[in-house]
């Protein structure tokens, strides 16, 4: 097959450009758009100024006006693109069929790809012209400040990408259906599904799983993708108009599917949505383009069709390789995780040696009404320690070991322990779920040298109030054990229990706390294992509708 690109201009592109730009229609439309943009820019300018007046922060006037103008105009552009683009291409091929000109072109040696690319280029040039028309107004925003060049480039690039995909959707239906009316209808139905359907899906998943779904669910929505590119405006002027304390910023944040940690109330920074959108739209666009091609061939080539499907399948597989759990380095890490031996970080985890050699015990909070007993016992061939405590409601006894173990990068950590709970008073793990009779805590620093606590609670009483610790950063579900029986616990990779997975670099300490008024708890065979690599956790990542595992959510406690 000959490559359809040549040094000569694409005939279809030349023809389309001659036709589209001829006559007064194009100029009238452009003039109208420019007037509209001017009027709206002025409106946004007034709005921005007004908002700052009420906020009593005169130093922020420029930033406020600039950012309001910028966000407003970019969204206006997107609105214009969504409105006109499908109509621009939905008639491209079907119009040739309807005007009975298609056979004339099909009887020439012109490659179908040339036809498609010519039509695409012409439509895209028209959209680009409209976007270009807003650039002078956008530069006004640039003048006022609060916007940096990268924001402008990012936003315009995204707009062009969305326009390209919408063009291809229109072209696909135009090629497939061969009639302009149905092609336009189908294109707008798909656009509606992208814009609203994606949000419906997002909300449905949120309601079923009772937690905030990952942001990539919204990747198909161009408005959300754009929002995710615009939320960085808050970084430009942290105290500015679009700071998290203003009204518009959280709106954009929610639109972009961003999560807010209900513990710190900080916005959880994950991979921005638009990066997913670029990938998904690229695959969608290429797939639509390839699927359209055989339909443009006068004599159908089903072999070409089969090849198309293979390419599309490969592209779909490439997406999780790029973004998701199937990244090559992730796969490599998972392989190492599964095969490499683990290294014990803890000393005297079996309590074979006297407790004091590695462990320290202390009453850290509340008042114990009788002396806490930490006894080292032996049962069959297993040594364990028994902690008996009695005290006020928030009393806490801790047994801890300081590790200060530095780990090489990309090392996972797992905790293993045997526990037995004899007695528990009360029926809940405290008001915030942080007062289970036994709480296991690993304190570590991540790669940025920020300290975190991984917490796992154990309880035995039925009717527990909270399934997980609400004010803990890691959201491990508490585990209910049968009273008086040994329970063996093995944690998943510690870093994966956080809203944004963390990579522990220094393990500072391991602590088990005995909380509540009265408790009698046995702990044995405890170990902290460092393992090379990282588990894949496919189930956690893909199983969106699984039983609610609490995580940092925008909807605290679910719907």
């Amino acid at each position: 097959m000959k490559i359809p690109f040549s040094t000569a201009a694409n005939p279809v592109l030349v023809k389309e450009m001659r036709g589209r730009m001829r006559g007064a229609r194009a100029y009238i439309f452009l003039t109208f758009i420019l007037l509209l943009l001017g009027a709206i820019s002025y409106g946004l300018y007034r709005l921005g100024a007004l908002a700052v007046q009420s906020s009593n922060n005169p130093s922020m006037i420029g930033v406020a006006i600039g950012q309001t103008l910028f966000v407003g105009l970019i969204y206006l552009d997107l609105l214009i693109i969504c409105t006109i683009t499908p109509a621009l291409t939905a008639g491209a091929i079907s119009g040739e069929h309807e005007r009975r000109t298609f056979d004339l072109v099909a009887a020439t040696p012109l490659h179908p790809a040339s036809i498609l690319l010519g039509k695409l280029g012409a439509a895209l040039a028209y959209v680009a012209l409209l976007i270009l028309a807003t650039v002078p107004f956008l530069s006004l925003a640039y003048l006022f400040g609060g916007v940096v060049l990268i924001d402008l480039i990012q936003a315009l690039g995204l707009l062009l990408g969305v326009a390209l995909t919408l063009c291809l959707i229109g072209l696909f239906f135009s090629t497939l259906l061969r009639r302009t009316g149905p092609a336009i209808a189908a294109s707008y139905v798909v656009l509606t599904l992208l814009v609203f359907g994606d949000w419906v899906l997002y909300i449905v998943i949120a309601m079923i799983s009772r937690r905030q779904p990952p942001n990539w669910i919204l990747a198909l929505n161009p408005f959300s993708a754009l929002a995710s590119a615009l939320v960085t405006l808050a970084d430009v002027a942290p105290a500015g108009f679009f700071s998290s304390s203003s009204v518009l910023m959280p709106l954009l944040w929610v639109l972009s599917g961003g999560a807010t940690d209900s513990f710190s109330m900080a916005n959880v920074r994950v991979r921005p949505l638009w990066q997913y959108t670029v990938g998904v739209y690229a695959v969608l666009g290429i797939a639509l383009y390839l699927l359209s091609l055989p339909w443009l061939q006068p004599v159908r080539r089903w072999r070409a069709h089969a090849r198309t499907w293979v390419i599309i399948l490969a592209l779909c597989l490439a997406l999780p390789m790029i973004y998701g759990p199937l990244q090559p380095q992730r796969l490599w890490a998972a392989l190492r995780w599964a095969t490499m031996p683990a290294r014990e970080l803890l000393r005297n985890g079996t309590f074979a040696a006297p407790l004091e050699t590695a462990w320290s015990a202390a009453i850290v909070a509340g008042v114990r009404t009788e002396p806490t007993q930490v006894n080292q016992l032996r049962e069959a061939d297993r040594a364990f320690i028994r902690v008996r405590a009695a005290g006020a409601s928030n009393a806490e006894t801790q047994v801890a070991q300081t590790l200060d173990a530095t780990l090489p990068s990309e090392t996972g950590v797992q905790v293993r322990v045997r526990v037995r709970i004899h007695k528990q008073d009360g029926t809940r793990c405290g008001e915030q779920g942080d007062q289970c009779p036994l709480m296991l805590t690993v304190n570590f620093s991540d790669e940025k040298n920020v300290k975190h606590n991984w917490v796992q609670g154990f309880y035995s009483a039925p009717g527990n109030g909270w399934e997980y610790c609400r004010n803990c950063e890691s959201r491990q579900t508490h585990i209910r054990v049968t009273p008086g029986e040994w329970y063996t616990f093995e944690s998943a990779n510690l870093g994966d229990a956080f809203a944004v997975p963390l990579a522990p670099r220094v393990i500072h300490s391991l602590t088990f706390s005995i909380k509540g008024r009265t408790a009698e708890v046995d702990v044995a065979e405890i170990s902290v294992l460092a393992r090379d690599g990282r588990p894949l956790n496919l189930r956690d990542r893909l199983n969106l509708l699984a039983t609610p595992t609490p995580s940092a959510g925008f909807f605290p406690g679910g719907f």
Binding site: K2, R100, T101, L104, A107
Partner: protein, 320 residues
């Protein structure tokens, strides 16, 4: 290879649309340099066949060979050999005549310099030079038809497939189109022209193929088919006698069983007789009839022989 001898050849070409058999086992042979008339009533499968020849339609089965190569093997190479003019075609909005030709020249990848001269030459050929900067939509039907013919010539193809090029034209435009085709034939191009009107093609075509209900009923050089016709000629004679008497006269001269032609407002009986042989035999038959005392008021050939053949071949049920 045998197929080299033909500009266009089909082998058992069949196209089926669901249950409808549009083209059935068509074996068409168009010699190089021929002006070939492809004749058949509306819906006979002419357009379907031409679209398959032009590589615009998949055949259900069978093969299409153009200039010694299979069309579906290398579609784009075939397209370079063929100029195709469909029966119905549209024109683009807001396009000028020269741009129209320029567009198709670009589609064939012609370099800019050649496009320039080619547009002028073609407009000259189809007599549209003064319409060079006119809007395509503003042209009359005849002019559009000529422009479409010009578009099929931009790449100087060896073979032209013209689907009803004269349909919808007034008599004058029809004659112009005919002259144009003769001119192109004189340039050595193989032209396959379809029509549902035989008269349009009979006198200018060097060969004809007649198609009916998707099947080829006759195919060959026009002269050959004419000769075949002259071997047996149809004559209409009005005898001043009743039917029995008239039939006796005819039987006496050995012309077989004649067909009665009912004619109002005429005296006597009109019979159609088939005479084996050419002009000599016809004259002899008439002489014999008169010698046997037949009283004949009118004696003439029954219409155009090709037209008759066409009717005979394509509408058998009307004869029954």
């Amino acid at each position: 290879m045998a197929e080299i001898g033909y500009a266009v050849e089909t082998r058992a070409l069949t196209k089926r649309y669901g249950r409808v058999l549009a083209v059935n086992q068509l074996n068409l042979q168009v010699p190089r340099g021929a002006l070939f008339g492809f004749i058949g009533p509306n819906g006979a499968g002419k357009t379907t066949t031409l679209r398959m020849l032009a590589g615009l339609l998949d055949a259900t089965s069978g093969e299409v060979w153009v200039a010694g190569q299979r069309v579906d093997r290398d579609l784009r190479a075939s397209h370079r050999l063929i100029g195709y003019m469909p029966d119905f075609f549209g024109v683009y909005d807001g396009m000028l005549v020269w741009e129209y030709l320029d567009f198709f020249a670009r589609c064939y990848g012609l370099p800019a310099a050649r496009r320039q001269t080619m547009v002028g030459e073609l407009l000259d050929l189809v007599n549209l030079t003064d319409k060079r900067d006119a809007n395509v939509q503003a042209l009359s039907r005849g002019m559009q038809q000529r422009l479409c013919l010009a578009h099929a010539l931009v790449h100087d193809p060896q073979i032209l497939l013209l689907d009803e090029p004269a349909s919808g034209l007034d008599p004058r435009a029809r004659i112009e189109m005919r002259e144009l085709l003769k001119e192109l034939a004189a340039m050595g191009k193989t032209i396959l022209v379809s029509s549902h009107i035989l008269a349009e093609l009979a006198e200018m075509c060097s060969a004809v193929g007649i198609i009916e209900k998707g099947a080829l009923v006759a195919c060959g050089a026009t002269a050959e088919i004419r000769r075949k016709l002259q071997a047996s000629r149809l004559v209409r004679a009005r005898f001043l006698a009743d039917e029995t008497g008239a039939r006796e006269w005819v039987r006496a001269v050995g012309c077989g069983e004649p067909r009665l032609v009912p004619e109002a407002n005429q005296t006597g009986t009109t019979l159609e007789l088939e005479i084996a042989g050419g002009d000599e035999a016809t004259a002899e038959t008439l002489a014999q009839l008169i010698a046997r005392g037949a009283r004949i008021a009118d004696f003439r050939e029954a219409g155009n022989p090709l037209e008759d053949l066409f009717l005979q071949l394509t509408e058998p049920e009307s004869k029954a």
